[in-house]
Symmetry: C2
Subunit: 386 residues, 2 copies
């Protein structure tokens, strides 16, 4: 499958435009003529190449201020394919993913990453297409004591790195319920909280509402040593109000760990997380799974396709957008990758002062409007045609 | 100025990519491999060429349904530069704009446009940069009896076309207040209502808060013979809640008449109106002014530029996005233009059924969240780092 896939739209453009044309494309499309690429250690590039993942790193400097020092943070985004076929024992599938991800995390640490985020349901195949409960529910695990948390806690404390771990959660305290959850582990290896996916898809092969319910954790922002962070999981990307509330609660960086496929969403991918960064004056980090996953039994789809065993192509293309709307090129469409971005968080407030999108938000107007809109006898504001 | 400006980013790509590469770019960037360009009458292209405006037309077909017939509507977006220098008498400036716009409207009519929208404050230069009250406030006019309305009412009834006319409004009934307003004229030439710009910028040279206040007309949706339409004026483009409420009130097409310049917003332009179409399952029509405007007296700027007489370059690039996220190429960055799009409004509900973004919106959650957020003693939801 990957052989036929375009490796990268960004690369295609770089190969076909030159000189002023490329600069104009960069200015209008990415929001800056120069991508501010930062150097990666040679040995790390070689190691990535040997282990089949790419690494890239970009800088987002802010203006100097008189009263505040720069607040520089390095974020790392990891996109990866599954490691072994989905008909292998669960414990083997998970271990194989741990093994490949560990290598990427070690390189992230060596490159000085402070806050790392993995893709949605990173420790398993995206089996929710199947609607089968067995064996996939066995991937669900405890936020505090699950194998993913134990694995990452150690890496977090070893490398002094905050790690966001989006998993399938089993909540034993509340009737063994299952959730789509991001666990936040601080740089001492302590779980400081979790966030549950607020909006659940029922589209195409994304039969997730079969497995878990809309999240009940609100819109938490996690204070960390490296800035205030939040997580908008996957389909919440399509919901501007979800992004908004993380901003209202003070987020400076919002991660969007995702799993989404070509044919369905690829033309939306560059739009939505970027729009959120612009509208809310914070950084967004959009991470997508990569590769094609095949399942033992055929399943049917929301879009009328014949029964099939293959999910579509997860197109990777992870990218970072700054509050000023400028963005990095995306990672590969076909390959595992680590995207590092060096952010000066001072840019958030600088852009709020410049553009004024928060000051002009009129939240009181919309609180009133929504209070009306949710009533069963709501009458939309419509004017007659004559 | 225009001589140095790139004519069109879309054209640049078309000139430099070929074959499968161009198709992949189209698929990932525009959301469809084929732009579905529709033919324009030869004599109209020639007339446009002679009068220095371009015309393009694209189709957005929907799926066939068993119970509903297609609901085909042709929308027209006009972008134009001012016609004579800003130091000429107001009545001459306005008449010269009327004259050039009339020619474009006549072509739109001949091409069968049903709903036409002009750019923000279309009948005047965008003089709000100056902060001067004289003479610019004299451009303000009555919604019902102003020269722009009288001019367009006749064209609307002659051609059986709904016309949206964004003007500087003088409200004589309410203490002679001034507003940034879109007037909606139906195809019989009757004013069926108005909408006032909800969010007012204070950024760069956009000193608009000097002239008018945040709109007090809510989020009206106008029922017309050609579908339910709404208008999100310019800076409201940056506010997802503004877009949302037009959707909640039932809009099928939302026009975004704008005036915005390169250097400030060009890298946001392709993102925001498009994101709104996706998030709300309606069509969006983003229209931007074109050209460079120079004013008699120097003015200072919100971004620290030395005092200057020239606004930046209004980069045109008007475009249409469908509810499925696919979009047209943009009009020119430097030239007057008419963009026509043939829409099947059935696509709105079809995409709501497919993607489910409205069903999964959880407006009740956000009504509650915003009720809290607007309180003076609001405590953001933040988790401590340890």
């Amino acid at each position: 499958m990957e052989g036929k896939e375009l490796k990268s739209l960004d690369e295609l453009i770089r190969q076909n435009l030159t000189g002023d044309d490329l600069l104009e494309f960069n200015r209008i499309h990415y929001g800056r003529k120069d991508n501010h690429e930062l150097e990666i250690k040679k040995e790390n590039i070689q190691y990535g190449s040997k282990n089949n993942f790419e690494i890239s790193c970009y800088d987002f400097p802010a203006n100097k201020e008189e009263l505040r020092k720069p607040r520089i943070v390095k974020v790392g985004l990891i996109q990866h394919s599954i490691a072994i076929p989905t008909d292998k024992p669960i414990i083997e599938q998970r271990s194989a993913i741990f093994e490949k991800v560990k290598k990427i995390i070690e390189i992230a640490a060596d490159e000085g990453v402070n806050v790392l985020c993995l893709q949605e349901a990173w420790s398993m195949p995206f089996a929710f297409c199947t609607r089968e409960k067995k064996p996939w529910c066995e991937f669900a695990e405890s936020v505090i004591e699950g194998p993913s948390t134990l694995f990452l806690k150690e890496l977090a404390s070893t490398y002094g790195m905050v790690i966001i771990s989006p998993i399938l959660e089993r909540d034993e305290t509340h009737s063994d319920t299952i959730w789509n959850t991001a666990v936040v582990i601080n740089e001492m290896g302590k779980v400081i909280g979790k966030h549950r996916k607020n909006h659940i898809p029922r589209v195409g092969d994304f039969n997730e509402s079969t497995y878990y319910f809309e999240g009940n954790t609100g819109h938490p922002v996690f204070e960390t040593t490296f800035g205030r962070i939040a997580i908008n999981i996957c389909y919440g990307r399509h919901h501007p109000l979800n992004w908004l509330m993380f901003g209202v609660n003070g987020a400076e960086i919002v991660f969007n760990p995702s799993a989404t496929v070509a044919g369905l969403s690829e033309h939306l991918w560059a739009v939505e997380a970027r729009n959120a960064a612009i509208a809310n004056s914070y950084f967004t980090c959009a991470i997508n799974r990569v590769g094609t996953e095949s399942f033992p039994n055929e399943f049917t789809s929301g879009d009328g396709k014949p029964a099939h065993k293959e999910f579509g192509h997860f197109y990777g293309s992870s990218y970072v957008t700054a509050p000023d709307g400028s963005r990095t090129p995306g990672l590969s469409r076909v390959k595992d990758g680590l995207l590092i971005a060096q952010l000066d968080l001072n840019m958030c407030r600088q852009i709020k002062d410049k553009w004024g999108f928060c000051m002009t938000q009129r939240l009181d107007l919309y609180a009133n409007s929504l209070n009306e809109a949710i009533k069963h006898d709501f009458i939309p504001q419509r004017l007659p045609k004559n």
